[in-house]
């Protein structure tokens, strides 16, 4: 496979973005939703075609910068699925006020960044891809220009994003300075003399802070509630699905290439960040009155759960994180879809405003209930199986890493608190005081199809998890876990 066919998926999406930009100039303002549908259709076709190509099991291109393996493909497909739903969502009536030609184009460009990020073979592509995504999101978050909240969210995202990018660059410099390479494969075998070990460790911590920004993990979690609350709903959905998944895959990549040098460092880093994210997010979510803000905090909790999978350091653990990420994506996309239909894409989403929703629109009520139950991790939905796999991997590795026992305890506490606030939303839907002017809500056909697909996804992944379990374990099959790397070094 040549280099250009290896980046075929990304090139296709870039071409699509440019085409839509050109077509968009000729389309009148009323027909702009058509562009989003076209973009969604296009991404869907690229997604399907990715299953027709036979990809190499693991191969690097462009002198090791670009890496194509199962993990990269898994995430590329995940990003495309997320982008598809986000694009359809942005075509909905609720977005008419804010959507312009640029919106689908920007989503596609962010998608390209994510897809390149999944294939990052070294720090250079990692940084470029990350910045491509982040800069695009600066625009997307502030897209509802007339809304102060959206602008405020954009500014907050910009400042915190810039600061964490600075951390990332500094960290990369330290790692390069101490090891002499930016490439992940070379980093794994590079020799670092003991005098520079400290520099290397500091570099790793800084890189973690920088990449953790995407994941919304402590200590780079501050932006999530404000931005989720202020950004238009489709953008929030993309942040919670695609952007968060990008953070996950980048941390996996960095961890796998450096863990054998700093096993304890990574163990401590992941454990502390996971525990702090879970507790911070869960406790702060309790008093929230705005559903989007609540999702912001719950996304911090989710980042903590995902890190637990990585902290267990086994392939099963990383696979569990992939599964949980997918399950979370389906639920959170459904919630943002409901939010944008009920409240409008760029308006505040008061939980109390959901009162009587079951009367106003049964479909929305059921969709919201199922996604809340899935987020809370209760059977028979996808989220339960994700949490089951995470606990299983953590218990399985607890013999090697005693810290995991504490993490399991923190996770139990986190799940318990999260059940409290997720059920608060369900309570508002079914037996909250209904609003006086409560009118039936019309759900367009495309929105209905999206919701049904997401609900089927949630139930399907909960009842028949076998396929995705296999897909996620295949995805991590070829990566080298820290433990294996250490075993190799000892040999």
């Amino acid at each position: 496979m040549s280099g250009f066919s290896a980046i075929g998926l990304e090139l296709a999406v870039v071409a699509g973005a440019l085409a839509i930009l050109v077509i968009g100039v000729c389309v009148s303002a009323e027909r702009r939703p058509f562009l989003s549908y076209a973009a969604a259709l296009f991404v869907g076709v690229v997604l399907l075609s990715s299953f027709l190509v036979s990809w190499p099991e693991r191969q690097t291109f462009f002198e090791g910068t670009y890496l194509l393996d199962g993990l990269a493909l898994f995430f590329k497909r995940l990003f495309m699925v997320a982008a598809c739903f986000v694009l359809v969502l942005s075509a909905g009536s609720s977005m008419k006020a804010v959507v312009g030609v640029e919106f689908p184009v920007l989503v596609l460009i962010a998608l390209v960044g994510m897809m390149f990020g999944a294939s990052a073979g070294g720090f250079v592509l990692l940084f470029v891809a990350l910045e491509l995504v982040t800069v695009t999101f600066y625009v997307l978050v502030a897209f509802a220009r007339e809304r102060r909240r959206s602008l405020e969210a954009g500014v907050k995202f910009l400042i915190i994003g810039a600061v964490t990018s600075a951390f990332l660059v500094l960290g990369m410099a330290f790692v390069y300075g101490s090891s002499g390479t930016m490439n992940f494969d070379q980093l794994r075998v590079a020799s670092i003399d003991s005098g520079r070990k400290q520099l290397f460790d500091i570099g790793l911590v800084l890189v973690f802070v920088g990449v953790g920004f995407k994941l919304a993990a402590v200590p780079s979690q501050m932006w999530a509630p404000d931005v989720y609350e202020g950004a238009p709903a489709p953008v929030g959905a993309f942040l919670a699905s695609g952007s968060k998944a990008l953070g996950l895959v980048l941390i996996v990549r960095v961890m796998n290439s450096t863990a054998q040098r700093g096993e304890t460092l990574w163990a401590v880093l992941l454990a502390v960040s996971a525990a702090a994210s879970i507790l911070y997010g869960a406790l702060c979510a309790i008093p929230q009155k705005d559903l989007k803000r609540l999702l912001g905090y719950s996304s911090i909790v989710t980042a903590g759960y995902l890190l637990i999978g990585l902290a267990s350091g086994s392939k099963a653990g990383i696979g569990a994180s992939l599964y949980y990420m997918t399950a979370y994506m389906f639920a959170v996309l459904a919630v943002f879809t409901v939010v944008s239909i009920v409240f409008g894409a760029a308006e505040p989403a008061e939980i109390a405003g959901l009162g009587g929703l079951y009367k106003r629109s049964p479909v929305l009520a059921v969709a919201l209930t199922l996604s809340m139950i899935s987020l809370a991790g209760v059977p028979p939905l996808a989220g339960f199986f994700g949490k089951f796999l995470l606990v299983k991997s953590a218990v399985g590795s607890a013999g090697l890493n005693k810290g995991l026992i504490i993490l399991i305890g923190v996770m139990v506490v986190g799940i318990l608190i999260s059940i409290y606030y997720y059920f608060g939303v369900i309570r508002a839907v079914y037996w909250g005081a209904s609003l006086e002017e409560a009118k039936p809500i019309t759900v367009t056909r495309s929105e209905r199809i999206v919701l049904i697909m997401l609900m089927v996804g949630l139930v399907w992944l909960g009842l028949f998890p076998g396929r995705l379990v296999r897909a996620s374990s295949d995805a991590v099959e070829r990566i080298v876990t820290p433990r294996q790397a250490i075993a190799e070094v000892i040999k």
Binding site: I373, V378, P379, P380, F384, F388, V391, K392, V395, G396, I408, V412, I415, L416, I419, Y420, F423, I426, R427, Y430, W431, P465, G466, V469, R470, S473
Partner: protein
């Protein structure tokens, strides 16, 4: 399809059917709910009758793969322990559907959730795969929360909903961690309980691991069964729950935790059991004394029933903690008998609530005159509750006493006192306040239930209580071989005194004689 799968799928499929029927076809929805639970109940009666006591291996077994890479499967089957539970669960579920005519708003959602509960818990009872076991139970739990919240009653129903949700979720999470720990520590790469038991017989779980996994399971399952002092969710929750939900939860779903102890904790972790069972025994006596004591002070019928149900599960815990054949057999009999009784009790209190408008006992009085059918049933239920011979509860409690006597005589004395004497005080007092005395003016219009569906709900439960009370051999013959296996595997690690062995033999013979005599 095999009979057990039909028992599970009938309510679940009916729930799916109801989901697509428009909400205003109320009669059709109710008929579907009644018929599907009736199908489960009839098949459950049939499998109970066709079950061969003492045959080796599982009966009516069915197996298929679910998630191959993790060793998760769908594996259902009956042994002596769950055959009675399935019968009880299916009958109570049918009864719960029958009495649910009181629900007049959002019936579609109500019956859908009720059927999910019924199908879920029946699935948990017959499952032999730890994952499916847990999965089905949680499937039954979620509707509980929604139903108490939506159709619940009383001012504190929101508080009750949150309390029961958080408490039970905490218990369930402890159980989840414990079950996964069992899976990991066994190292057999399977969640199948039969295979795990076989595996553990050769290579036991390391003793150090058992010592921390067992309490996880004990307290996790214990919270789900309202083990003292983790019981406070039960009375509040049952007082706030709609009738059908209280019946299903107190009667059926609660038994999941005890079944979990019998299936997973005792046979797979004998070392842990040795260390922790004395604690469980002490807490069980706490259940009996504290539950009974508090029940005496209640003026609300539902709360009284809630606390008495807390007290009654103490017998089951005590029987399991004794780990003798008689004790374990008795515990299972108590589980089944209490299921019928709790179902009956909450059905009756639901009816009284509709007639009187409240479950405050002060507002009742002299009702026997107006409600001969309900009144007679209430007297019988209350007598069964304080352990009068002739009802299945008596058999179970007696067996537990005999079994526990071997291990610790003081426990038994306290338990007998609390269960029988204190129990008699509050049940008989309730009978007096509700049924006897002058009839209150505002209750002059009260009438018995009409309609065969409705009456059959109560009748079925009473008949079951009486049948197993008069012919306990029906249950004991089925349970005993498996109780022996449980107590045998779990007791392997425990040094048995020769005298103890002898004692079990003699009391066992005595109990069998007693059973024969009563028959």
């Amino acid at each position: 399809m095999d009979p057990l799968t039909i028992i599970i799928t009938a309510p679940l499929a009916a729930a799916g059917l109801i989901a697509v029927i428009p909400g205003n076809y109320r009669f059709l929805i109710r008929i579907i709910a009644l018929l599907s639970t009736l199908v489960s109940a009839v098949i459950a009666i049939w499998v109970f009758a066709a079950f061969v006591p003492g045959a080796s291996g599982l009966q009516f077994e069915a197996k298929s793969v679910w998630v191959k890479s993790l060793g998760i499967g769908y594996h259902v089957g009956l042994d002596g322990v769950n055959v009675g539970l399935v019968l009880m669960g299916a009958l109570v579920a049918f009864a719960a559907a029958c009495v649910s005519r009181e629900i007049v708003e959002r019936e579609k959602e109500y019956y859908l959730l009720l059927l999910l509960m019924a199908g879920g818990i029946l699935g948990a009872f017959v499952s032999w795969d730890m994952f499916a076991f847990y999965f089905f139970h949680e499937l039954a739990l979620v509707p509980t929360f929604l139903m108490i919240g939506i159709w619940g009653r009383g001012d504190d129903r929101v508080y009750a909903t949150y309390q029961i949700t958080l408490y039970l979720s905490f218990g369930a999470l402890l159980v989840l961690v414990g079950l996964i720990a069992v899976y990991v520590q066994c190292g057999a790469d399977t969640f199948d309980m039969v295979e795990l038991q076989r595996h553990v017989a050769q290579t036991p779980v390391p003793a150090t691991a058992q010592r921390w996994i067992f309490p996880l399971l004990m307290f996790g399952f214990g919270i789900l069964v309202s083990l003292w002092p983790f019981h406070s969710w039960a009375p509040t929750g049952y007082a706030a729950a709609p009738t059908g939900v209280a019946m299903l939860h107190a009667g059926v779903i609660k038994k999941f935790g005890l079944l979990g102890l019998i299936r997973v904790a005792l046979p797979l972790l004998p070392e842990g059991a040795r260390e922790w069972l004395p604690v469980m025994g002490a807490l069980a006596v706490g259940n009996l004394i504290y539950g009974g004591w508090v029940a005496m002070r209640q003026t609300d019928l539902n709360r009284l029933l809630g606390y008495s149900s807390v007290a009654h599960v103490g017998f089951a815990f005590l029987g399991l903690a004794s780990l003798t054949i008689l004790g374990v057999t008795g515990a299972v009999v108590v589980m089944i008998a209490h299921g019928f009784l709790a179902g009956l009790n909450f059905a009756l209190s639901g009816y009284l609530r509709r007639v009187v408008g409240s479950t405050e006992m002060d507002r009742m009085g002299g009702l026997l005159e107006k409600l001969p059918f309900i009144g007679a049933l209430l007297v019988m239920a209350m007598l069964a509750g304080c352990g009068v011979p002739g009802f299945a509860n008596f058999v179970g409690e007696l067996l537990v006493f005999f079994g526990a006597w071997e291990v610790d005589k003081t426990w038994v004395v306290f338990a007998a006192w609390a269960g029988l004497v204190v129990g008699a005080v509050y049940t008989l007092r309730a009978v007096r306040t509700i049924l006897h005395g002058p009839l209150r003016k505002e209750l002059a219009a009260a009438t018995d239930p009409v309609g065969a569906w409705h009456k059959s709900a109560y009748a079925g439960l009473v008949v079951a209580l009486l049948l197993f009370g008069v012919v306990p051999g029906l249950l004991i013959a089925r349970i005993k071989p498996d109780a022996k296996a449980v107590s045998g595997t779990a007791a392997k690690g425990i040094e048995m005194k020769a005298a103890g062995e002898f004692g079990i033999g003699t009391t066992g013979a005595f109990a069998a004689g007693g059973v024969g005599g009563r028959r």
